[in-house]
């Protein structure tokens, strides 16, 4: 199938390091996924570092863009996690930029979408939750467990509320990772399917070409929607990260 909608998610080795010829756990493969992770990081770093090279008092266009990114994330962290949360600002900023640029790279034809793999989003979500748990216990000690005991709830409801709170906490990494992964995966599959319709319909002759305008219009609209989803999911990921970090800083509700 030329337009197999799943093929775009396939991971292929570009080259491998070590373990030449020997299959096993010691072989390190540099895949298309890894390539786009590297490209994402290089693009973000190059843009932010080069655009602010001049350190202009009056910013140029690119410098202004970098500053806007900075202030956008800084305001987000400050409003959800408070001033104390600003120590996690580089972390949230890195997450936001990584997800955003990886998503946007995915919109370029023939580019691989790093965030369309559950293992990547799950790893990022686990990283967030690990930071929350580790910092939460470091800062509050056992007081961090107050997170599961909402203030102002009558004692007789607590046996019901506490398990719910624990389950909701444990489901956070799953919801955080699945939300991003599923959005990217579904969006790209839909896009591919509709784009495939154009090709297969237009091969049916004049009527087919006429009919192909419908999926074509749909593909255009979906492309716009996917750009929106790319930015929105990066934003959601970063906002939720900030809110979870807020829980680590202020465990009592």
């Amino acid at each position: 199938m030329a337009n197999d909608p799943i093929k775009q998610f396939k991971i292929t080795d570009i080259f491998t390091i070590g373990g030449e010829g020997e299959t096993g756990g010691f072989e390190i493969a540099f895949t298309n996924s890894a390539l786009f992770m590297v490209l994402t990081v290089v693009a973000i770093s190059a843009f932010l570092i080069l655009s602010t090279r001049g350190r202009g008092l009056v910013p140029g266009r690119l410098q202004l863009l970098s500053e806007m990114m900075y202030e956008f994330v800084a305001n987000m962290v400050r409003s959800s996690a408070g001033t104390e949360g600003m120590k996690f600002f580089p972390f949230v900023f890195s997450l936001f930029m990584f997800v955003l640029v990886a998503n946007l790279f995915g919109m370029v034809p023939y580019f691989f979408t790093v965030t369309s793999h559950i293992i990547v989003t799950f790893a990022l979500a686990m990283l967030v939750i690990s930071v929350v748990i580790i910092y939460g216990f470091m800062r509050n000690g056992l007081g961090f467990l107050k997170l599961f005991v909402p203030a102002g709830v009558p004692g007789y409801v607590l046996p019901i509320v506490i398990p719910i709170e624990i389950v909701s906490f444990l489901s956070r990494p799953i919801s955080l990772s699945v939300r991003l992964f599923a959005n990217m995966l579904a969006g790209h599959i839909t896009l591919k399917v509709f784009a495939g319709f154009i090709v297969s319909l237009s091969s049916l002759g004049a009527v087919g070409v006429l009919g192909a305008t419908l999926p074509f219009a749909m593909t255009v609209a979906l492309t716009a929607l996917e750009f929106l989803v790319s930015a929105l999911q990066a934003y959601v990921f970063a906002v939720l990260t900030s809110m979870y970090l807020n829980d680590a800083i202020h465990p009592s509700h």
């Binding site: 799943i6 080795d13 996924s33 590297v38 932010l48 570092i49 350190r55 202030e71 293992i119």
Partner: protein, 175 residues
């Protein structure tokens, strides 16, 4: 390129790629490496630099605003000082004009008084003179008249009767 791909990957060709565990290790490894690099670059280079730029700009703007405020206050002070000075100068000018007028008037009054006094003195002296002259003249009138009458009578009569002439004159003068 992927000619020597391992059998695990070939077997997993039918597996939905995002759920293919054989790729997890590689993805996790590269994600860890790239994200660590990104975090390092962001926290050590890019973000401090942008933060510094924003800080410097905010300081600059605040400094400029403070400077503008200071200059404005200075201007206000200067305007106030100017107005006070102006009012003072007006008052002074008014005072000087008043003083000058008073001086001139006083001087004038003094001079006039002096002139008037002088005039009065001269007038009195003149009146005195006139009175004295008149009195002297009156004294002489009688004598002249009697002499004149005597001369006339002598001329007419030929002889003189001095006593009678004197009496007659006296009678006329009295009458």
């Amino acid at each position: 390129m992927a000619s020597k791909t391992n059998s695990a990957q070939e077997a997993a060709a039918s597996v939905f790629p995002p759920f293919d565990p054989s790729t997890f290790g590689s993805q996790l490894l590269w994600l860890a490496l790239t994200f660590a690099a990104l975090y390092f670059l962001m926290s050590k280079v890019a973000l401090p630099r942008i933060g510094e730029i924003l800080e410097v700009r905010r300081d600059r703007i605040e400094g400029d605003l403070a400077e503008a405020e200071r200059l404005k206050q200075k201007t206000d002070q200067a305007i106030q000082a100017y107005e006070a000075e102006l009012a003072d100068a007006k008052q002074k000018a008014h005072n000087i004009a008043e003083e000058t007028r008073d001086t001139i008037r006083a001087d004038l009054d003094k001079k006039r008084a002096k002139v008037e006094a002088d005039l009065a003195k001269k007038m009195a002296a003149a009146e005195n003179d006139i009175r004295e002259t008149k009195q002297a003249a009156m004294e002489h009138v009688e004598e002249i008249a009697s002499e004149t009458a005597l001369a006339i009578v002598t001329n007419i009569v030929g002889r003189t009767a001095q006593k009678a002439a004197k009496d007659a004159v006296a009678k006329v003068v009295k009458g």
